[in-house]
């Protein structure tokens, strides 16, 4: 009489449960499998070049020499440039929409900002080739060279296609990510925090500064990291405007190359196994970086969603 009773389930129910369970586990398997698949293909390159792969500047398929440093460099410079531009603007958009705009205005502008994320990458690239790059070449780069030319970043011939163009286009593409995540975490800040600040006589800006931003800080950091992740892996638009030359030059005007771009351009031309293997190794590095970045970014965003961390009532 004191046994504990169990629920029984019919066959159909058990099938549904197992089916959904296997799909859920499938997501984990998919992630691991993707990593393994790439590691397996990249193995010849990893064994041949070791750590030298990421420190060598020479990329010469004819001589079977493969070093990924120029691509890593181009990826990092364009991504950080994009972050520098998109993070403050994205955060500003989020603050404006969440804390200041009226609700109807908020819906319309919020939708427009989301549309920025909906435009396909290849269309940004097309616009970059025919609108952005020529404008940079004739107007922006000469101007920058004239006024800021004492900094090595802004020296050299204006070309249009280069790291500046790549960084700018990436900034546009990651801005909606940063804005959306920042909005999400700011919306998770309890209204009580805001009211407490206002009740003490704070102005709107002071309320945002002392009650909203500290509370949402780690989530906003997470959003910026997700933006960075997107910038690092973005392929088409960068491929179309970065100039595609495996050089490491200080000038932002100079043509460069990115990790994703070299994969996109050379993958179908990789005529022998080591060449393909080297390209896949670049992909593997990109996979690893974005995986780690996303992991920590999600941790930060989740921590905000789950409750207060840091930040207190004034």
């Amino acid at each position: 009489m004191s046994k504990q009773y169990k629920l029984t389930a019919s066959l159909g129910d058990q099938i549904l449960r197992l089916l959904t369970l296997s799909m859920a586990i499938g997501v984990l398997v998919l992630m691991v499998w993707m990593g393994w698949q790439m590691f397996d293909t990249a193995r010849p390159s990893i064994q041949r070049f070791g750590l030298g792969f990421i420190t060598s500047r020479v990329w010469d398929p004819v001589k079977e020499q493969f070093g990924a440093l120029p691509f890593i460099y181009g990826t990092l410079v364009t991504s950080f440039l994009a972050l520098l531009l998109a993070a403050p603007i994205g955060l500003g958009v989020a603050i404006f929409l969440n804390e200041m705009a009226e609700s109807r205005f908020r819906a319309v502008v919020g939708f427009l900002v989301e549309m920025l994320a909906a435009i396909p990458s290849v269309v940004y690239g097309l616009w970059g080739i025919f609108v952005l790059a020529p404008w940079l070449k004739t107007t922006v780069e000469p101007g920058l060279a004239k006024w800021l030319g004492f900094i090595p970043l802004f020296q050299g011939t204006p070309v249009g296609f280069g790291m500046l163009a790549g960084g700018l286009i990436l900034a546009v593409m990651i801005l909606p990510t940063i804005a959306a995540i920042s909005r999400e975490v700011m919306a998770a800040v309890p209204n009580m925090q805001r009211e407490a600040a206002l009740a003490l006589g704070a102005t709107k800006w002071e309320m945002i500064r002392v009650a909203v931003l500290p509370y949402a800080k780690s989530g906003i950091m997470g959003g910026i990291m997700l933006g960075l992740g997107r910038a690092l892996g973005e392929t088409m638009a960068v491929t179309m405007v970065i100039g595609n030359r495996p050089d490491i030059l200080a000038s932002l005007f100079a043509p460069a190359y990115s990790m994703a771009a070299v994969i996109a351009n050379e993958f179908t031309e990789a005529t022998y196994d080591l060449y393909l293997s080297a390209l896949v190794e670049i992909g593997l590095i990109l996979f690893g970086i974005t995986l780690v970045l996303n992991f920590f970014a999600r941790l930060l965003v989740w921590s905000v969603g789950r409750g207060p961390k840091g930040g207190s009532i004034v």
Partner: protein, 250 residues
């Protein structure tokens, strides 16, 4: 016809919290039995044990025995059991994706009945028993959510009746309704006992006095007293029952 229920040494836990501590109770058929008691006394858990809904909550545990018409409910598939023991919840919860008609026949149809004529007959019969037919017969294809709160609750009663249970559990069915809708539901309960064994959880003692043949008083997971309603309210055996119904605590 309703069935008798006998509950023996029923214990229930939610997490580490024991909500029922050895309940023994006989429930007569074709009676309205009211379960009263202060919040947290285990009265909701008690009725949820009878159709084995309590066990669906994560972290829950049950011991003891409940005999429905001579057979242990724990020997049966809970899904089958719930066709015999219907339930009406505190808040009306019609299925939002379904019309009034689909709501009423949901239980029968999802268990395999396909015949359209039969389904229509069941819908009409159930809605009539729930005293809702005249109000909705012209708009059976409207969403169930288009009805008022009291109508929604009667729709939920009709939905439970359509499965033809022998026992009907009602967990504070009128607590979310206004007085007029409450009156409708109470009238309905009195009629339904012709055909069903009814257990009704209520925190409203006047309601228990109005509709119940017998009343059980729960306190801290124990059954303090169970007897004819008139006796419980006029001449309780236990001091604690008297304190509760005279409003001295709870």
């Amino acid at each position: 016809m309703g069935h008798t229920l006998s509950v023996r040494q029923l214990e229930a836990w939610y997490g580490s919290n024991q909500t029922l501590k050895g309940i023994n109770m006989e429930i007569a058929s074709n009676h309205v039995t009211a379960i009263i008691g202060p919040s947290g006394c285990g009265k909701s858990t008690f009725v949820r044990c009878i159709n084995r809904m309590h066990e669906t909550l994560p972290g829950s545990k049950v011991k003891g025995e409940i005999i429905l018409d001579g057979e242990s409910i724990y020997e049966q598939d809970p899904v089958v059991l719930r066709k015999m023991v219907g339930m009406v919840f505190q808040k009306p919860n019609p299925f939002p994706s379904m019309s009034i008609y689909e709501n009423v026949v949901a239980g029968v149809r999802l268990n395999g009945m396909r015949n359209k004529k039969t389904l229509q007959d069941i819908a009409e019969k159930s809605l009539r028993m729930a005293a809702l037919w005249d109000e909705v017969k012209d708009r059976l294809n409207y969403s169930g959510m288009s009805l008022s709160g009291g109508q929604q609750q009667r729709l939920c009663i009709a939905r439970a009746l359509a499965v033809e249970p022998s026992v009907l559990l009602m967990d504070e069915p009128a607590s979310a309704l206004d007085p007029i809708a409450t009156m409708h539901i109470e009238g309905l309960v009195r009629q339904l006992k012709e055909d069903y064994t009814i257990l009704i959880v209520t925190h409203n003692m006047q309601q228990a006095a109005r509709i119940a043949d017998s009343t059980a008083f729960f306190l801290n997971g124990e059954l303090v007293e169970h007897g004819p309603t008139s006796e419980i309210f006029t001449n309780p055996n236990d001091k604690r029952t008297e304190d509760y119904i005279t409003g001295r605590f709870g």
